[in-house]
């Protein structure tokens, strides 16, 4: 049998940051014309490896071969010219340019724009037909859906002559349906001989779409497998280095009284657009209500209103018997005193102040607590001690209260926030994206803690874009689409397809599955 032709061969790549090996003798072989998955926990070294391949970083040592040629990239231009393209997690597009203008950005060719534009249009139309990438070339980026924007990124890479495409967590921002579309494009690309490298932490995508899969852990390549000969449990264990419980154990529990009641809630944003429209639901003590939806469909507005950060436009909210409406706002500090804790969706923009030390961050929202601080003066020593205790209880590493928060990994930052919010013995918990950017080991820990809170009788409202997470933790699921509730499902009877349709508001709502 012929030795397969490799599109990419990486041999003994080493890269260190400080004392840490980001990549330690990493080897990778990607066969031409295949879809190759790379999985690993956050910080396992996937992104570093791809950055080396794309010319962002230079390896300390090691060999890179592209289509059999040994190369050393000094910058990403050299990588591009050797046929490598990359679709980043955050799109690199100019919002108010058209698709066409975005694609030729950087390769305008000549002083006069229109000539380059004409040729680019011809080429892009050809590419679009060949690979089934349908995009209106004259639409501005801001008018396109996220899925279409991603297609523009793919077109951009192909236009620059990419024969190898690297995708970094491409489905994080997509609905399940859009993700399906993307996978269809993958197949089309593969049929035309394009090699695809898919970086993801979603095991089901790996199983579903890839031909081969490489697993990274702690800077090392721990396994390379043919996808059809492995399974999710196997891969998860390889990633974490031990057995992982993918399904969260949770016993059934009787619900208690209603602690949070949302009644015909509507919220206008500063541009007078309805972020939430006529939303009503209840959360009982001892249950987790999951809010599913593609991000940007009102989840953030819901968390902000419930936590007192932004104002109600219409309707009302009852929190532990206290009524809050447009005329009677209750501010976040008051809500905390009542017993409402909030783990915000965006931990870096809201949950933490990255320039603050861990101990300073451990009292955000509670700095006025008389048990910690005096009337004016802060008791910094006490804050530090309390923080050390929190860090111990939630296994935050390194357990150094004086360390600046930006020096903690995402998972440890999140654990610090959870420790802060869970430790106050709240009655209601609002939790947004608890595991975004958190590695698998920490996810398991966080999920366990959330279930513990539920079991001890808290009312938990969980907002997440991860359907797996919503389905495994929640008791009931509410789906938001475009600011209104597009579906209610009992978690036990929920499946991904139904939820996906609800998220796209394409499900027949007369047919609700909620059992109670």
């Amino acid at each position: 049998m012929n030795k397969p032709q490799y599109a990419i061969e990486l041999v003994d790549i080493n890269k260190r940051f400080g004392a840490v090996y980001a990549n330690n003798k990493v080897c990778l072989n990607v066969e031409e014309g295949t879809i190759h998955g790379i999985i690993g926990e956050n910080g396992a070294g996937k992104s570093t490896l791809m950055s080396i391949l794309y010319g962002f970083y230079q390896a300390d040592s090691g060999l890179i071969k592209v289509f059999g040629n040994s190369l050393q990239f000094k910058d990403s231009h050299e990588a591009i010219s050797s046929g490598i393209g990359m679709v980043h997690q955050h799109f690199m597009l100019v919002d108010n340019f058209t698709v066409l203008e975005n694609v030729i950005l950087g390769t305008e060719g000549g002083a006069l724009l229109h000539e380059g534009l004409r040729e680019a249009r011809k080429e892009l139309t050809r590419l679009g037909q060949e690979y089934g990438l349908k995009v209106d070339l004259d639409a501005t980026i801001e008018s396109l859906s996220v899925g279409s924007q991603q297609r523009v990124e793919i077109l951009k890479a192909l236009y620059k002559g990419a024969k190898i495409l690297i995708f970094d967590e491409p489905t994080g921002v997509l609905t399940p349906q859009e993700a399906q579309d993307l996978f269809r494009i993958f197949s089309a690309l593969k049929n035309e001989g394009v090699t695809i490298i898919l970086i993801t932490h979603k095991l089901h995508e790996i199983i579903h779409i890839t031909d081969n899969v490489s697993v990274m852990r702690a800077g090392k390549m721990v396994a390379q497998k043919v996808t059809s000969k492995t399974d999710r449990e196997d891969l998860a264990e390889l990633m974490v280095g031990r057995k992982v419980l993918l399904q969260v154990d949770k016993e059934d529990k009787d619900k208690g009284e209603v602690l949070l009641k949302v009644n015909k809630l509507s919220v206008l944003d500063e541009n007078n657009i309805f972020r939430l429209k006529d939303v009503s639901f209840e959360v009982h003590a001892g249950e987790v209500v999951g809010i599913a939806g593609v991000s940007g469909n009102g989840q953030s507005a819901l968390l902000k209103v419930l936590s007192g950060i932004s104002n109600i436009t219409q309707g009302s909210v009852e929190i532990l018997g206290q009524k809050m409406d447009s005329k009677n706002p209750i501010f976040p500090d008051k809500l905390r005193e009542l017993g409402l804790s909030h783990v915000p969706e965006d931990r870096l923009r809201m949950g933490l102040i990255s320039e603050f030390s861990a101990s300073e961050n451990s009292i955000i929202g509670y700095h006025n607590d008389k048990q910690i601080n005096g009337r004016f003066i802060m008791n910094n020593a006490k804050v530090r001690n309390e923080c050390a205790k929190l860090m111990e209880g939630f296994d935050v590493r390194p357990a150094d209260p004086d360390l600046k928060s930006s020096n903690f990994s995402g998972g440890n930052q999140q654990k610090l926030i959870l420790a802060r919010e869970f430790n106050r013995n709240p009655k209601i918990l609002l939790i947004g994206q608890p595991t975004r950017g958190v590695d698998i080991g920490a996810i398991e820990f966080i999920h366990k803690r959330i279930i513990e809170m539920r079991n001890s009788g808290k009312a938990v409202l969980l907002v997440s874009v991860e359907l797996d997470e919503i389905m495994s933790i929640s008791d009931r699921i509410i789906v938001l689409c475009d600011g209104h509730i597009s579906g209610r499902v009992d978690a036990k009877s929920a499946d991904e397809r139904t939820l996906g349709l609800m998220m796209a508001n394409a499900y027949d709502t007369t047919n609700n599955l909620e059992s109670n």
Partner: protein, 366 residues
């Protein structure tokens, strides 16, 4: 020492020192071009600023002003506000001081006059900052713009006050009559005489201790109080502050009042401490200088005291330079100050990559 600590020290100490040295080097080149021996100039500058008691007195006297305005800028900056209005707040603060002094019976004891005049400066400076703060918090007018405009308003208001209200009858200069003697802050050289040391006369007065006292207060306020915590949280991440239940609008008002109040104390040093009357443009340059001082001092009271001292040296040593060397005009001194601000403010991180490479490199081998 681990790498983070090293980088901290590089940011706090090594970079500012390098920047100041660069500014001096650039000044030296200019001196050579205009035919001045830079070594001689440096000797004159340093001797003028530190070499004898009177010179040192002037240096510390100017530094006192810069401590006040530097602290003012730093407090606002820690809350993410750029208070460019130190100039106007200092001016109006001086007016408050003068008005309170004139309102009190001249025979009142100094123990009433001293706190009252300080209070006047604090109060009027705070009020002058309150309006831009209100406009920022509740009307969204950018504080940089409004505080600049308030500098002009202060200037016009003070012209009116000095020309039409406070001017001593028969005096052509726009200045008030002398403050009652009981209100004068003691000069350091007078105090030292009381303790048996004879010192050369200089304008240095007890306002320096007021400034140092407020530096300690600011340090406590920012890093050891709940208000300071809220203020820093708002400055670093206003969304997180709102999440924490802090009301940024209130923080803007409170912070700007504190900032303005501190700037308002320039009048204590200038007027109550030395001129003993309110005069036109006594504040000139200190408000803007305070921005550079705060930048150089990394918005920390200790850094501000050091940077204020440097500016005091430039003011006093620079005057000495213009005095001694006929081909150095007062404008060259302004150029020197400009270079310091350029290298320490605008180009403050110029050397950072190199210094970090040299002193805190990313370790290749462990």
């Amino acid at each position: 020492m681990n790498r983070d600590t090293r980088i901290n020290w590089i940011n706090r100490l090594i970079l500012p020192v390098l920047n100041v040295l660069t500014a001096f080097a650039a000044t030296a080149i200019i001196f050579v071009i205009i035919g001045v021996d830079p070594i001689e100039a440096a000797e004159i500058l340093l001797y003028g600023a530190f070499g004898y008691q009177e010179g040192l007195g002037y240096t510390l006297y100017y530094a006192t002003n810069f401590i006040f305005t530097g602290l003012a800028v730093a407090v606002a900056f820690n809350a993410g506000l750029f208070n460019i209005g130190g100039e106007g707040q200092a001016y109006i603060g001086g007016l408050g001081t003068a008005l309170i002094i004139f309102a009190i019976d001249p025979n009142t004891s100094a123990w009433i006059f001293i706190p009252a005049s300080i209070l006047g400066g604090l109060l009027f400076g705070a009020l002058w900052a309150l309006v831009p703060a209100y406009l920022q918090a509740y009307r969204g007018s950018h504080i940089v713009i409004t505080t600049i405009m308030f500098n002009f308003l202060a200037s016009s208001l003070m012209v009116y006050m000095l020309v039409n209200v406070l001017r001593e009858p028969g005096n052509m200069s726009p200045e008030s009559q002398l403050f009652p003697q009981n209100s004068w802050f003691p000069f350091i050289h007078d105090l030292s005489t009381n303790f048996g040391f004879v010192m050369e006369e200089s304008p240095l007065n007890v306002s320096l201790f007021v400034a140092l006292f407020f530096a300690v207060i600011v340090w406590i306020l920012i890093w050891h109080t709940r208000l300071g915590y809220s203020l820093r949280a708002t400055g670093l991440n206003s969304e997180a502050a709102i999440y924490a239940g802090i009301k940024p609008k209130r923080i803007i008002l409170i912070t700007m009042c504190i900032s303005g109040a501190l700037a308002g104390l320039v009048g204590i040093n200038e007027l109550v401490g030395y001129q003993h009357r309110i005069i036109m443009d006594f504040h000139f340059g200190y408000g803007f200088g305070g921005i550079a001082v705060a930048l150089m001092g990394r918005n920390h009271p200790i850094g501000i005291i050091i940077a204020a001292l440097l500016f005091g040296v430039l003011y006093q040593g620079g005057a000495e330079l213009a005095f001694e060397l006929s081909n150095i005009s007062r404008d060259i001194v302004v150029v020197m100050q400009g270079l310091i601000i350029l290298f320490c403010g605008a180009l403050q991180y110029m050397y950072k990559p190199w210094v970090i490479n040299a002193l805190a490199p990313i370790q290749k081998e462990s």
